[in-house]
């Protein structure tokens, strides 16, 4: 059900990937995203697939769990796929009225869909293997240079920590309210789009009320523990760059070299 959404969720494990420095993982993920836009054919995706496969295996995150993260974006993938397939000019394979599928369109559609899938899988690997708190520590540390220009880096990082922290809580809340309304005969699964949208009211209103309640409680709890922002605040677990992080950099370099070589020479 609603709990199946794994986007932005953490999968507790003790793998080498989990233990990497979060700053490094964020940068590597950005590099990976750039690499996806450098790929120009399916051989390139082959390299991506193998790499992602190896990292997933090392991370010990079950494949089933990762693929469940794709569920909520299936609609977007299908949408881009269809659009690409129908909107590209070229050799016509199939025609029906004003709809036509071209060879180039089909190629484009598969290509774009794959790019989206790899994009999601890669970025969910980051969140699946990095505790939200580490992730925001990493972001805060990476943003430090901008602090001099007046960017409230600590506050941004704290906001992100809280947002990430409350994703599972809100999902749980959604699940609970959904069940409670179903017990009163609410039906979220059938009917026309309009009917379904209307059926969401009994879900969304309590959810918003709950979100505000939670926010208020949290603000009070932070206040009562004297939270006053980032100035002079030290970390319990300071980030440290280790040997395995250096190894990860080497692997990333090899991967990027392979992607570039494939683009230029094949």
């Amino acid at each position: 059900m609603i709990r199946d959404i794994t986007l932005g969720q953490y999968y507790p494990e003790h793998s080498r990937i989990h233990r990497l420095d979060p700053r490094l993982k964020i940068i590597v993920t950005l590099v990976y995203i750039v690499s996806l836009f450098l790929v120009k054919d399916f051989i390139g995706y082959g390299i991506v697939l193998v790499t992602v496969g190896i990292i997933t295996a090392i991370s010990k995150v079950p494949l089933k769990f990762m693929l469940r993260g794709l569920k909520p974006i299936v609609l977007i993938i299908v949408f881009t796929f269809t659009l690409n397939m129908l909107m590209t000019q070229g050799t016509i394979l199939w025609e029906w009225g004003f709809l036509k599928i071209t060879k180039e369109g089909l190629y484009n559609a598969v290509f774009m869909a794959l790019r989206l899938v790899f994009l999601i899988i890669g970025s969910s690997l980051l969140t699946l293997t990095t505790k939200p708190i580490k992730l925001t520590d990493g972001i805060e540390s990476l943003l430090k240079p901008f602090k001099r220009f007046g960017m409230p880096t600590h506050e941004l990082a704290m906001m992100m920590t809280i947002a990430l922290r409350f994703i599972p809580t809100l999902l749980e809340e959604t699940d609970k309210i959904m069940k409670a309304q179903q017990a009163r005969g609410a039906d979220f699964e059938t009917g026309s789009i309009l009917r379904r949208a209307k059926a969401l009211v009994p879900l969304l209103v309590p959810l918003f009320v709950g979100a505000f309640r939670i926010a208020q409680e949290l603000a009070m709890a932070m206040e009562s523990r004297c939270y006053r922002g980032g100035e002079g605040r030290t970390k319990l677990n300071a980030l440290k760059f280790r040997g395995r992080d250096a190894l990860a950099i080497v692997f990333t370099a090899i991967y990027m070299a392979a992607i570039m070589a494939e683009r230029i020479f094949i």
């Binding site: 999968y11 409670a180 017990a183 009163r184 009994p202 309590p206 009320v209």
Partner: protein, 289 residues
């Protein structure tokens, strides 16, 4: 109408590293008109178990019969089941969403496809049953009520569906003593008027001892004990071991029995203890004089 549950097992997050067997091979029957109390430590699977009884959760294995209908069967109409089995969730006040109290209570009956007049009649009846004056509260926003009142509105929303089985998941959790008392009296009066099966999940041993015909004790997803309140609360050592206690009066009675002052009668609440002490003391005074 009766309930039959056979070898029910539920696993959360099956196949993942953190899967939990929340209900483990549970079987029981409940006869028509029975009042069942379910007790158990937090996380023992009480909520999971009762959410199966109206089909909100699907079991991993096992079957459930409500009357003659097997609700775990594939082709069952869920609304039919939810009409017959009303479930009041833990902290039900968080499910309120309508602009007015009466509209919120009408949500369930509306989903059953009843006529306007029928809905109106049921809303009035349900509000009366939970002790909310229709003229005063019907038009008010549920969000401006007190905690106890909100909870009554939520309970009324389920009662208005006129279920034959009413299940309440810790209906008094987090309430002040007055609201606690009110909700309990309400449950009693509903049972008195509407009949049918009532299943009450509670952390308050006294309430369960007082109201239930039979008590189910859950421990680690298993149904550890089933019996009358007298039977279940006699074994204080067992209940302590699984993180529960017994009602204060029963504890006193058990302690007296341990000192060889067994009364031979069942003492579960303060009234029974008072009677026992009064009898004993007056007996002692008479024998002295």
């Amino acid at each position: 109408m009766s309930i039959r549950v056979e070898n029910l097992t539920h696993i959360y997050n099956k196949g993942l590293a953190y899967e939990t067997k929340a209900v483990d091979d549970v079987s029981f029957t409940v006869a028509d008109g029975e009042f069942i109390g379910i007790i158990g430590h937090t996380g023992s699977g009480k909520s999971t178990l009762i959410q199966h009884l109206n089909g909100i959760l699907k079991p991993e294995s096992g079957s459930i019969f409500i009357g003659d209908a097997e609700i775990t069967a594939k082709k069952i109409k869920m609304n039919e089941i939810r009409k017959r089995v009303g479930l009041v969730f833990q902290y039900p006040e968080y499910q309120l969403f309508e602009e007015t109290v009466s509209k919120d209570i009408a949500f369930g009956p509306k989903n059953l496809g009843l006529s306007e007049e029928e809905i109106d009649e049921r809303v009035r009846e349900a509000m009366q049953m939970v002790g909310l004056d229709f003229a005063t509260y019907a038009g008010r926003s549920p969000f401006e009520l007190s905690g106890g009142q909100k909870r009554r509105v939520a309970i009324a929303g389920v009662i208005a569906m006129r279920p034959e089985v009413l299940i309440l998941d810790e209906p008094t959790a987090g309430l002040d003593p007055k609201s606690h008392e009110d909700i309990l009296n309400m449950v009693k009066s509903i049972r008195h008027r509407a009949g049918g099966i009532v299943i009450l999940v509670s952390h308050n041993m006294g309430d369960v001892a007082e109201m239930a015909d039979r008590v189910f004790v859950m421990d680690g997803g298993k149904l550890a004990r089933v019996g009358t309140p007298a039977e279940v609360f006699a074994d204080e050592a067992f209940l302590k071991r699984i993180g529960l206690g017994v009602p204060p009066a029963a504890r006193m009675a058990n302690d007296l029995a341990a000192r060889g002052l067994a009364s031979g009668r069942v003492i579960l609440n303060i009234d029974e203890m008072t009677d026992f002490l009064a009898d004993t003391l007056s007996g002692a005074r008479e024998s002295k004089s």
